[in-house]
Symmetry: C2
Subunit: 420 residues, 2 copies
């Protein structure tokens, strides 16, 4: 792999057009620091923010937690340069064009197989004057989804809207510090109020974390409109605390997997996206299939889900799963469960990933996701621009037997399935 770290400068900020020309090797915090000195922000904050670079985000079609307001990275790129074995692709810095096939979109998401991104011009935004987080509790997943859906229909989406399903909600509350003294008494009284006055069932309830921002006027305008919609869907505001504590730990999540793995717990995530009409079906089938797969491996399952990127037409679903590892069969067990999640996405109108890219992990589903002819188009680009196959070989374009390459044999699958 190529270390791009020394290309870490914000080269130019055009404050009139609100665009910035940036080198691709810059890490998230260093980039935002340089942009902040100019009073602007990219608004892109994936969980991997501190460990990942602008070039990496563009090459993988990354999404940050503020995507509801700022878009995915592919929505932010105005132009770019990519050095390929056949020359350098340079697109023009214009807001929109009708110049045939949009070359920019051949580079975005190419995960290094065509060339190396060496410069990106992105849309930036003035730093908001005011921002704050709030927590809400909804009686169930459906009412939370309905509330988000209505915000989209009313064109009043917060900057962040993150809805946990009941399992994920229980996990979130389990992570909270225990309270003591007077705070403990207030928390207990509030819990009594939610359960007995608001009639919320703690086994079904769902935590939503939202962030508003803007000028003080814009902040209040959006907050008031969203609050009215949430209340209509039986949401109960928990105040600023749950959101603020989420904001504090948000970049720690990627470390959790390795931490629990050292303690014999297999844990990972699989995420997808689908239309609003199909969202609950995919949520339920995803949970059921992953849970069944874990049980197939002979252990108890924990599976939860959250939604943290939504659109006028649909939303992402982000599944988290965990179980005890099967000693000696850790890899097989993991792949078997991961396969169940991706199979569920393919079978139920999802996509192989909403923002985690293909890499090698999702190779077995590329052909089904893009369609065989879609994959031919990718191969045509690869053959044309990198005829000697020197750029990041083995990514995006699967071999004939991707599941085998992946390390999951047909025998292992049969063996797990025969248990159930």
């Amino acid at each position: 792999s190529l270390d791009m770290c020394r290309m870490h400068r914000v080269l130019e900020v055009d404050k009139k057009s609100l665009i910035a020309r940036i080198q691709p090797g810059v890490y998230g915090p260093h980039m935002e620091e340089q942009l902040e000195a100019e009073g602007v922000t990219l608004g892109h904050f994936p969980d991997s923010f501190v460990h990942s670079t602008l070039g990496g985000w563009v090459a993988t079609r990354s999404a940050g937690m503020q995507s509801d307001k700022y878009g995915k990275i592919e929505d932010m790129v105005i132009s770019l340069r990519m050095v390929t074995p056949s020359g350098t692709i340079i697109t023009r810095t214009v807001p929109k064009s009708s110049n045939g096939i949009d070359i920019k979109h051949l580079c975005i998401g190419s995960e290094g197989i065509l060339g190396v991104i060496t410069e990106v011009v992105v849309q930036v935004h003035h730093k908001p004057e005011k921002e704050d987080w709030y927590g809400w509790l909804f009686p169930d997943f459906k009412s939370g989804l309905d509330a988000i859906h209505e915000c989209h229909r009313g064109d009043c989406m917060p900057t962040v809207t993150r809805l946990n399903d009941p399992k994920k909600t229980a996990l979130s509350f389990a992570f909270k510090h225990p309270k003591t003294g007077i705070k403990d008494k207030i928390a207990k009284a509030f819990k009594w109020y939610i359960g007995n006055v608001k009639k919320i069932d703690f086994n079904q309830c769902c935590l939503m974390v939202v962030k508003y921002e803007g000028t003080p006027q814009a902040f209040n305008r959006i907050k008031n409109r969203v609050t009215a919609i949430y209340k209509k869907h039986r949401g109960v505001c928990l105040g600023a605390e749950p959101g603020r504590s989420f904001a504090k730990v948000k970049f720690d999540f990627p470390h959790l997997r390795d931490y629990v793995m050292d303690r014999s717990i297999m844990a990972d995530v699989s995420e997808t996206a689908t239309t609003w009409d199909n969202l609950r079906t995919l949520h339920e089938s995803g949970l059921a299939d992953v849970e069944q797969a874990i049980k197939d491996t002979g252990v108890d399952a924990w599976v939860g889900c959250h939604l943290s990127h939504s659109y006028r037409t649909g939303a992402s679903l982000y599944f988290t799963f965990g179980c005890l590892q099967r000693e000696g069969r850790e890899i097989e067990q993991y792949l078997y469960v991961k396969k169940a999640a991706e199979d569920a996405f393919m079978k139920n109108g999802g996509t192989l990933s909403h923002h985690h890219a293909v890499g090698t992990e999702h190779l077995p589903w590329v052909e089904e996701d893009l369609s065989p002819t879609g994959l031919k188009a990718v191969k045509a680009l690869k053959a044309g621009l990198d005829p000697n196959d020197i750029m990041n070989p083995g990514k995006i374009i699967p071999s004939e037997k991707p599941l085998d390459d992946w390390g999951l044999s047909a025998e292992a699958i049969d063996e797990f399935q025969s248990r159930s």
Copy 2:
């Protein structure tokens, strides 16, 4: 060419997700009629609306007059099918994905050179409850641009914002029906007020036409915010009439060129886009270069410009030019002037077209616009998906000498230039 007219049905409207699955051969009015029966609209109204199809819009990256609210067609497409000589590309109907290179964007804008689009799923919108048009007069082009820019910065853009420069403004007013009786007296008094109280110079002033829409509350909210910004930039509201009359004739514009051509007048348009910071430079150089080119051909020039699609980062510029035809040299004269416009776009940070596509007319500028390696990528796709070059040959990919193919010889260019 292929007649797709019999594939003219809206196959499915998903009102929860607000998406519609539509056959590509449907003409604008017939499509909107079918969508309206379901209470929704695509919101895509190019000037060619009555003569063009959904498939054509997608294949050419078309823009409609409401693009400021609804986006260009490439922003509306959720998924599509395209039949190529190597098989059928089918993308998944999901709001967003991270599945490698976005295959959808290889099909959008491909202008028929890779295959035939046979189905498109697009985002649709509820029909707005209320909509209306307004006319505004700004003292000059800069103040109009500044007003639009500030609306973008405040996230309060009308559905349509169309700003004419001074020449185009004079043309618009020349098209008005003369008034009689009391209406004539009121018009004269209002003109006196604008000139003497508002101190607007009628040689510099610029007409802006805007459209608001939404629920009655949303309509008023946006109208009030925009009105405050326009007034700050010395705009004077002309009431609803100029906007409403624009709306009445908007789909007649494409007929004008042929009408005047029958009367020995050469007239055409060339349009581009650039960043806010570069907009006035490109406006001025575009006007100057086209005017000079017309004068080179030995006749007087009329050149005007309007802006009707704008973005957070920049806007389109749409130049209209006209002059007396040089008898016997009509084609050469036209190509010489057209070349001056496109050269000006390339030289001054524009793009060969914002929404008119490449076709054959813009072939001479494709390589410069996409960069030579960008063009290689297009050729790679063509070779991979259409190895026998049977799909719409001669489009998008230029020959070695595109200007010659185009019909403008080096001698003709020299001869025109030597006059000036």
